[in-house]
C-alpha cells in the first residue's frame, strides 16, 4: 500500500492539482432542445485533499462530478471547458481511456445504497469483478480483506450474501469497499450517506475519512448538506442553478458567506439551525405548557389531550421456515399524549417502530394491545361509519411527494378527491375550496390544471399538504413529510406548517429521523429505539439535557452540530 503511494508521489509533481475543472459547461439534449445543466464551473482538488460541492437538487453538483468520471447520461455532453486529471484532459477522452481510469484512478461511491448494488449477484462477486477488471488479485481472501477494511463485520461470510440480505448501512460499506478497492487517487462520493440514519451516517463518514486519509485519497464529496460539507471537507464549492457561486476554505465560507444564495443556505440549513428558536414557538406556547405527563387518565385532562396513546404494542409474526413463526415486537408498550394545537415529534432510526406508531394512530394498522384514544374515544371501537368520520379529522402527509400523488390525477382532482369522497358541498363550492387551499399553501391557482410530474418536489409536498387540509382536520400525521426535500424547500415547508398550525389550531404528530427538523418544529419529543419509548420531554429539555445515551448519540450525530457559528446565525 505504501509502495503504491510513493510511486504516485514520484509521478505527480508536488503542486500539480489532481483534478482541475475549468470553465466546464455540460449540455443535455432534451425534446425541448439543449439545456445547459452546468455553466462555467471551476474546481481544483490537490492530491489527498477533500473538496465538497454543495447545492440543492438540480444545481448541477452531481452532473459535474459524473463528468469527471465520464459517466454523464447518454443525452449529456461536455460542451465547453476542460477536466484535467493529473495533467491529462479527460473531458473528451475515449471510452477506452476512461475504462482504464475508472476504478483504479478514479473511484466512485454512489448515493443510494439500495439501488446501487446489483440485486442478482453476491456482494463478494461484485467486489471481485472490480478487482479483476482493474488487474488486481481477486481471490476470496482479497475480497474479504477489502470488505473488512470498509468496516463490514464477518466479511468472509457476508461476501457470500446477496444485497437484499444487507441493511442500508452495510450496503453502503460494501459500496465504499468497491469504490476504494483499487486504491484510486480520487474518490467521488455522491451523497454517500444521505439515505442513511444519522448515527449510521456518522460511522460511515468517519470510516470513509480514516480510510481516505490512510490511503492518501483525494475526495470529491457531493452533498446537499452544508453542515456535513463544512465538517468533512477542506474546501467547499457552492453550486446554484448550474453555476459555481462561491468557493473557499470550509469554515471561512460558512462564517462569512458572500453570495446571497450561500447566505440563505447557511441560514436555513437545519443542521446549522439546530440551535435556533423553534418556529412553533411563534404561537406563544412555552415548552412547559405543552409538556404532558406520560399517561393521563383523569377526566379533566381529556379535552386538552386530543390524542392519548396508552401502552401501545404491535407484534408482527415473522415466518421462519415450515409453519414456524417468530414474534417481532415493532412497538413495545409506548405511551404518550398530545395536547391540542401542539406538535409532537417521534424520532428514531429506521426500524425503531416510529412509522408503525403512525400507522396505528391513523387506524391503518391494528394494535396488538394498548389503546389509542382520539378526543376521548378509543379508535379500536369505531365501526366503519365512525372510522370514516375519524379519517376526516385525522389526515396524513407522507414522505415521498413523488409517490403519494396519483400521476394520472390533475392537482385539482387530487385536492378535491377527499371532499368528493366525504360528499362535502357542491361542485362549485368544492372548486372554491380547492382555490382557497392552494392559496393557503402558497401555490398559484393555475396549478389546478397541472399534473404532479410538472411540479417540483417542494410544490408536490405543498399539494399533499393542501390535500391533507381539505377536510379541515384537527390532527395531521406527518410521516417524514420533509425528509425528501432540499434544505431551502424544507425550511419553506416547515414554515408553512408552523404558520398553518397557528392559524388553524392544528395538532401535528411528526415522524422523523432528523433531529434538526424536530428542533425547528416540535414542542414535545418522543425518542424511540427498537420499539421502545426511551425518552420523552419538551424539545428544549431533550435537546439541552438528554438523559439517555441513545438520545445523546442521536444528537451527536447531527452533521455540523458541533461547529462554531457566528452569533447572527446561531
Amino acid at each position: 500500500m505504501n509502495e503504491s503511494i510513493n510511486v504516485r508521489d514520484a509521478g505527480s509533481g508536488a503542486q500539480r492539482p489532481l483534478l482541475e475543472i475549468k470553465d466546464l459547461a455540460i449540455t443535455f439534449a432534451t425534446s425541448n432542445g439543449d439545456v445547459n445543466a452546468v455553466r462555467n464551473a471551476h474546481l481544483t482538488i490537490m492530491p489527498g485533499e477533500t473538496v465538497a460541492i454543495v447545492g440543492e437538487s438540480g444545481s448541477g453538483k452531481s452532473t459535474t462530478a459524473l463528468a469527471a468520471i465520464g459517466l454523464l447520461p447518454s443525452n449529456g455532453r461536455v460542451s465547453e471547458g476542460t477536466i484535467f486529471f493529473d495533467g491529462e484532459d479527460i473531458a473528451h477522452a475515449s471510452e477506452k481511456r476512461m475504462i482504464e481510469l475508472r476504478g483504479n484512478s478514479i473511484g466512485m461511491v454512489p448515493q443510494d445504497p439500495m439501488s446501487n448494488l446489483n440485486p442478482v449477484w453476491k456482494i463478494g462477486y461484485q467486489v471481485k469483478e472490480t478487482l479483476k477488471a482493474n488487474g488486481l488479485p481477486s481471490g476470496p481472501d482479497d475480497v474479504t480483506k477489502v470488505l473488512t477494511e470498509a468496516g463490514l463485520p464477518d466479511a468472509a461470510r457476508r461476501a457470500k450474501q446477496y444485497p437484499h440480505e444487507f441493511s442500508g448501512g452495510m450496503r453502503q460499506r460494501a459500496l465504499i469497499a468497491i469504490g476504494l478497492s483499487c486504491q484510486p487517487r480520487l474518490l467521488i462520493a455522491d451523497e454517500p450517506t444521505s439515505a442513511l440514519d444519522v448515527t449510521v451516517q456518522r460511522q460511515i463518514l468517519d470510516h470513509l475519512d480514516s480510510m481516505t486519509a490512510e490511503l492518501g485519497t483525494a475526495v470529491l464529496l457531493i452533498t446537499h448538506d452544508l453542515g456535513l460539507a463544512a465538517e468533512r471537507a477542506d474546501k467547499v464549492v457552492v453550486m446554484y442553478r448550474g453555476q459555481v457561486v462561491e468557493s473557499g476554505p470550509s469554515l471561512e465560507l460558512l462564517q462569512n458567506p458572500q453570495h446571497p444564495y450561500t447566505q440563505r443556505l447557511v441560514n436555513s440549513a437545519p443542521s446549522l439551525a439546530s440551535r435556533r428558536i423553534q418556529v412553533a414557538k411563534d404561537q406563544g406556547l412555552e415548552s412547559s405548557e405543552v409538556l404532558t405527563p406520560d399517561v393521563i387518565n383523569t377526566d379533566a385532562s381529556k379535552s386538552a389531550d386530543i390524542l392519548q396513546i396508552e401502552n401501545l404494542t404491535k407484534v408482527f409474526k415473522l415466518r421462519s421456515g415450515l409453519g414456524r413463526s417468530t414474534d417481532f415486537t415493532a412497538v413495545d408498550d409506548v405511551s404518550f399524549a398530545i395536547k391540542r394545537g401542539t406538535t409532537t415529534a417521534i424520532v428514531g432510526e429506521s426500524g425503531s417502530g416510529k412509522s408503525t406508531v403512525a400507522q396505528m394512530v391513523l387506524n391503518l394498522l391494528k394494535p396488538t394491545s394498548g389503546k389509542i384514544i382520539f378526543d376521548g374515544v378509543d379508535t379500536s371501537t369505531l365501526n366503519s361509519k365512525e372510522t370514516f368520520a375519524f379519517r376526516r379529522r385525522v389526515q396524513p402527509i407522507f414522505q415521498d411527494p413523488y409517490g403519494s400523488l396519483d400521476p394520472m390525477y390533475s392537482i385539482f382532482r387530487t385536492i378535491e378527491e377527499p371532499l368528493r369522497v366525504h360528499k362535502i358541498g357542491t361542485a362549485a363550492s368544492r372548486e372554491k375550496k380547492v382555490r382557497e387551499l392552494l392559496d393557503q399553501v402558497s401555490l398559484p391557482q393555475s396549478t389546478m390544471q397541472r399534473y404532479p410530474n410538472e411540479l417540483s418536489g417542494g410544490q408536490r409536498q405543498r399539494v399533499a399538504i393542501a390535500r391533507a387540509l381539505a377536510l379541515d382536520p384537527e390532527v395531521i400525521i406527518c410521516d417524514e413529510a420533509v425528509s425528501a426535500l432540499d434544505v431551502l424547500v424544507q425550511a419553506q415547508v416547515l414554515n408553512l406548517l408552523a404558520e398553518l398550525q397557528s392559524r388553524l389550531g392544528l395538532t401535528y404528530l411528526f415522524i422523523t429521523h432528523d433531529l434538526a427538523v424536530v428542533r425547528q418544529i416540535a414542542d414535545h419529543v418522543c425518542v424511540m429505539e427498537q420499539g421502545k419509548l426511551v425518552e420523552t420531554g419538551s424539545t428544549d429539555s431533550v435537546f439541552d439535557s438528554p438523559q439517555q445515551d441513545y438520545t445523546k448519540a442521536l444528537l451527536n450525530a447531527i452533521p455540523g452540530g458541533k461547529l462554531m457559528l457566528p452569533p447572527e446565525v446561531a
Binding site: E100, G103, P110
Partner: protein, 309 residues
C-alpha cells in the same frame, strides 16, 4: 427448496384430476353419437354398435365411464382408439413430433428474441431498433396461418430452400421452417419484452456503478444488464412452452405435420373421449411441469425470490 418442489408436485394431483374430469365431461356432452358416426353413410348395425358401445364403455353413465378411464390410466392401459390402435402408442407417436417442434420454436424465439431485443435496447432510437420494432409489430399483427402459408409458399415452393411439407418422420431438418412459423409471434413478444426490460435496466443505478468500477462495456452488458433483463422474459417463455405445444395445431395443419394438434383435432371431431382426454391431460401436465421449471429458473435468476418460507 426440496419441500417447495415436493409441494409443487403434490399440486399436480388435483390439477390432473380436475383437468381430466373437465375434459372428459366436455367430450361426454358433445352432441351426436360417436358410434353412429363411425358407420359413416352405411346403415347402423345395431348388434355391432351395441358391442362397440360396450367395448368403449359408452353404455355406462358418465361417472362410471370416467372412473373406468381413471382406472385405465393407473393400470397403464389407456385402451384403444376408434381405429383399434392402443392410445398409448398414439401418444408415443404424436408427442415426440410436437415436442420437437415446440422446443425448436422455443429455442428460435428465445435466442433471436433476446438477441434482437438486447441490441435494439442498447441502440434505442437507432435504425436497427426502429426496424425491428416495426417488423415485430407487423409479425404480431398478421395471423399465424397467413404467415405460415406465405413462408411455405415463398421459402418452400418458390425458393425451394426448405421442403414445403413435412415427412412422416418429421426430422429436425424438416421442422425448421414450421418451427420458425410457430415461434414467430412469440419471437416478436420476446423481442419487445427484452427491449423494454433492457431499457429499464440500462439506466439502473447499479449499472452506472458497475461502469464506475472500471468494467468493460461488454461485461457491464452481459453481467449487469442482460441477466437482470431476462427475469420477465423467462416468465413469458415458460408460459409459452405450453402454449406452443397446444397451439401447434394451425402450424401442423399448414405443414401437414403428424403431431399432437392434428391427432387431437381428429379425435375431437369423431368424439373419441379417451383419446381427447389422454392428449389434453398430457398437455396439462407438460404445462404445469414447465411452469414449475420456470419458477425454479426464476429463483435462480433473481436471488431475492425464495420459495422456502
Amino acid at each position: 427448496m426440496a419441500t417447495y418442489i415436493l409441494k409443487r408436485f403434490l399440486q399436480l394431483i388435483p390439477v390432473f384430476l380436475g383437468a381430466t374430469l373437465l375434459v372428459y365431461f366436455l367430450v361426454f356432452s358433445l352432441p351426436g353419437d360417436p358410434i353412429a358416426a363411425l358407420f359413416g353413410d352405411k346403415p347402423v348395425n345395431e348388434t355391432v354398435a351395441a358391442q362397440l358401445r360396450k367395448q368403449y364403455n359408452l353404455d355406462q353413465p358418465f361417472w362410471i365411464q370416467y372412473l373406468l378411464y381413471l382406472k385405465s390410466i393407473f393400470t397403464f392401459d389407456l385402451g384403444l382408439d376408434f381405429s383399434g390402435r392402443p392410445i398409448a402408442a398414439v401418444l408415443g407417436e404424436v408427442f415426440p413430433v410436437t415436442a420437437r417442434l415446440a422446443i425448436m420454436a422455443l429455442i428460435f424465439e428465445a435466442f433471436f428474441g433476446i438477441l434482437f431485443g438486447l441490441i435494439a435496447g442498447l441502440r434505442k432510437g437507432k435504425i436497427f431498433d426502429a426496424t425491428v420494432l416495426v417488423a415485430s409489430l407487423i409479425v404480431i399483427g398478421i395471423p399465424i396461418f397467413v404467415l405460415g402459408f406465405m413462408l411455405q409458399f415463398f421459402i418452400g415452393v418458390q425458393l425451394g430452400w426448405a421442403k414445403p411439407t413435412v415427412s412422416s418422420a418429421a426430422t429436425v431438418q424438416d421442422l425448421i421452417l414450421p418451427a420458425i412459423v410457430l415461434g414467430l409471434g412469440s419471437f416478436a413478444y420476446v423481442l419487445r419484452l427484452t427491449r423494454t426490460s433492457v431499457l429499464e435496466n440500462m439506466n439502473a443505478d447499479y449499472v452506472r456503478t458497475a461502469t464506475a468500477k472500471g468494467l468493460s462495456r461488454s461485461r457491464v452488458v452481459r453481467v449487469h444488464i442482460l441477466r437482470n433483463s431476462l427475469i420477465p422474459v423467462v416468465t413469458f417463455l415458460g408460459a409459452d412452452l405450453g402454449a406452443l405445444m397446444g397451439g401447434a395445431i394451425v402450424t401442423e395443419g399448414i405443414f401437414n405435420i403428424p403431431g399432437v394438434g392434428q391427432r387431437l383435432y381428429r379425435a375431437v371431431l369423431s368424439g373419441e373421449g379417451p383419446t381427447v382426454v389422454s392428449i389434453v391431460t398430457v398437455l396439462v401436465l407438460i404445462y404445469v411441469v414447465s411452469n414449475l421449471l420456470i419458477d425454479l429458473l426464476y429463483a435462480w435468476l433473481d436471488p431475492r425470490i425464495r420459495y422456502d418460507s
